[in-house]
């Protein structure tokens, strides 16, 4: 625990240093080249715009968070069982896997207008795009994880008289967690992209919608402020998954490196 805390404070320190340097560079460029604020506003201006518009940004952020989480959770709830089904039966794999790969070859973003046609404005198209875009990495990484069990381990378990269900729950599933978390982390970043795309195309709320309207008014400072809120949200989401990972698989190599 002590080590983890020390590591955490060290991480936080370097994060502040690197972000501070970036903001400094940004302010330096604005000051040096005297860029017009509709092209590149300085850090102070962006901060000011955030202060002036925060009342407006909070509900929009709420809508975005809601669509991201809905799409993501849906992808987990559908994707993980689907991966289990694909791994457990060769026939079902042959039936399910090719269409899954095929739908993957369609750029999901291109489907957003279709969803608007079908489902109109509102939550559904956003959630659908977020779901579709993060679904595939979650499924594929879960499948890879479930398949990566050592055949000798299955043999060992069978020689101990373990029924298939117990082999799955006690050996295959925990062994798949590291790979699953890989997919969950990639998916977390993609879900934000999906929800934003949905908001760009067919929505009258959410940060994506606010972003478009700020661009329409050439309010570049607000645009930047929204970008910051967005990246903060995406980062918080990603780290939440990472914390979950640390809690669930502290035994894995990737987590050991953290404490080393």
């Amino acid at each position: 625990m002590n080590l983890w805390n020390r590591k955490w404070t060290r991480d936080a320190f370097w994060m502040v240093v690197s972000f501070g340097a970036l903001v400094g560079l940004w302010a330096g460029i604005v000051w040096l080249f005297e860029t017009p604020s509709y092209l590149l506003p300085g850090p102070g201006e962006v901060l000011g715009s955030g202060r002036d518009n925060w009342l407006q940004m909070i509900p929009h952020s709420g809508w975005t968070i809601l669509s991201v989480l809905a799409g993501y959770l849906l992808a987990v709830v559908v994707g993980v069982p689907l991966a289990i089904i694909v791994v457990s039966s060769q026939t079902l794999e042959r039936i399910l896997y090719p269409p899954m790969v095929a739908t993957q070859s369609i750029p999901k973003i291109a489907l957003a207008p279709l969803f608007v046609v079908w489902f109109g404005f509102g939550m559904f198209p956003k959630v659908a795009v977020a779901f579709l875009i993060c679904f595939f990495p979650i499924v594929v990484d879960t499948i890879v994880g479930l398949r990566s069990i050592d055949p000798a381990l299955v043999q060992l378990a069978r020689s101990m008289g373990a029924p298939p269900r117990r082999i799955f729950l006690r050996l295959r599933l925990p062994g798949a967690l590291p790979s699953m978390f890989g997919g969950l982390k990639v998916g977390s970043a993609l879900a934000v992209v999906g929800a934003l795309t949905g908001e760009f195309i067919g929505s009258d709320n959410g940060l994506g919608y606010l972003l478009l309207s700020a661009a329409g008014e050439l309010d570049t400072a607000l645009l930047f402020a929204i970008l910051f809120v967005l990246s903060l949200l995406a980062m918080a989401f990603f780290y939440a998954i990472e914390v979950l990972e640390r809690l669930m698989i502290p035994w894995h190599v990737s987590q050991r490196a953290h404490t080393g």
Binding site: D150, L153, L156, R158, S159, M160, G161, I167, P174, W251
Partner: protein, 278 residues
Amino acid sequence: MTPSARAAGSVAIPEARPEDAASFIEIESLDKTFVGQDGEPVVALQGLDLDVRRGEFVTIVGPSGCGKSTLLSLVAGLLETTGGEIRIGGTRIVEPYTDLGFVFQSDLLLDWRTVTGNVLLPCVMRGLDEKAHADRARELLASVGLEGFEDKRPFELSGGMRQRVALCRALLLDPPMLLMDEPFGALDALTREQMQVDLQTVWHRTQKTVLFVTHSISEAVFLSDRVIVMTPRPGAIRAILDVDLERPRDLNVHDTSRFTGIVHEIRLMFQEMGVIHR
């Protein structure tokens, strides 16, 4: 080799009981054919006959692909025989036979369980109470010199220690028989010799029937009462050699003429079969 010679060191040596002399594992004209990747049948084992006495240490030595590992899987009932039959303690094997301990080349320790947790795996797999066997697990670990490592994670252990944990796991429920598939194959040469000595000690103490598979002729001779020499695919028994070296053996037995004589004899057989060339 009589049981009395095995128990060297003890004062009173009981006479062999009749059941000791009887075969524990009986393998009769065993055939195993697989369907290969190209759909062609591959004969892994052909016409194999072998009887193993209770408490005997038998090693199977042969080239890669001679069906040694397949034989162990068949004995454990994890594969179906194509022909012939296997009986353990008189019972014909038709489904996984669980009253045995299996040790593989890979230690197969679970990263997410502690050392003790790994030794307790047979309980988990059978749905038995882990707590009831925790003391037994700790005793076993102590008996192989792993006192103080009970709560460590497998990744904190060396290869030799990990394989000791795997041995403890196999012994947890005190099965009468151990199947060992190249258990020391991944260890460095020095660790390997140490493990051979320690396994012999465990075997003396527990009197298990052991079916051991290896590539190493000297390992086979050092450990065994009998060495089964296999032919290349299709696997069949080329010869069965009695190893009449006194027990317990220490590593210096490697330098005795009787030891080198048996090793030489086996190597000649492999050269004759074209498995190894001079």
